[in-house]
Amino acid sequence: MHSFGYRANALLTFAITILALMCAMASVSDNFNSQSPTSEVQVLNINWFQKKPDGDDEVSLTLNISSNLESLFTWNTKQVFVFLAAEYGTPKNALNQVSLWDGIIPSKEHAKFWIHTTNKYRFIDQGSNLRGRKFNLTLHWHVMPKTGKMFADKIVMSGFRLPDAYR
């Protein structure tokens, strides 16, 4: 009843249960964090806008993205994955979401940023529906914890519009 094997087993089970409990509590503590992120995006330039040989529209943009995501970081945060997506509807598709740029914020010190960039990923439609198209630019973030539940949310910035003609 008190052999080494039994004691080792009891100790191990106890240790693992406590560890799991601590991970769960760490994760629950993230729920008490009140978040107040801000963000602003400007489309500085439409670099070019064409219909590709396969019939799909493609546009290249230069963007200015500034944001303050410091309030998302807690002691249990490993990194925040942030990305900007263009969102729009077309006659055939109820919703299109195309990620234009993404980045990884490794710590709170890097969470207030400003960048000037062309779109990292190609903005291609399924079809030729982009002329004169209104779209939203939504900044999404994904808080990845050191352990536990991941949180995601977004800020929608609307009012953008593509040119009526190719250029």
Partner: protein, 146 residues
Amino acid sequence: MIWKTLMCVTGSESPVVVVLSESMEPGFARGDILFLSMSKDPIRVGEIVVYNVDDRPIPIVHRVIKVHERKDTGEVDVLTKGDNNSEDDISLYAPGQRWLQRKHIIGRAVGFLPHVGWATIIMTEKPLIKYILIGALGLLVITSKD
């Protein structure tokens, strides 16, 4: 029993997976465990999904970067990419396949535990360790007194 319960609760075939590659670093490293869930909610950009490619035995865990959802059927075309990869996943899909559909996706990652899955990786990549472990357990069973 616990596995089947988890399957029912999360609605996914495979409620817990081990991260096998470095394609999602620094967020997920090899040996981390991911908890999955599969609700009826539509697939949206930014979600981390686990998907199967036809004829490939090992599921892949990457992030959705493009979504096109049809008005009439509600079907989606989805493109994924690993955070740490420079290219999207087109080269990982079946030849000629440009998009993933909902049927390929077995779950969304909702939570994770670091490092716990290393035992699984070691046992898969160095089967000798698996045999030694099973041998030792077998010996324990035979020699224990009750």
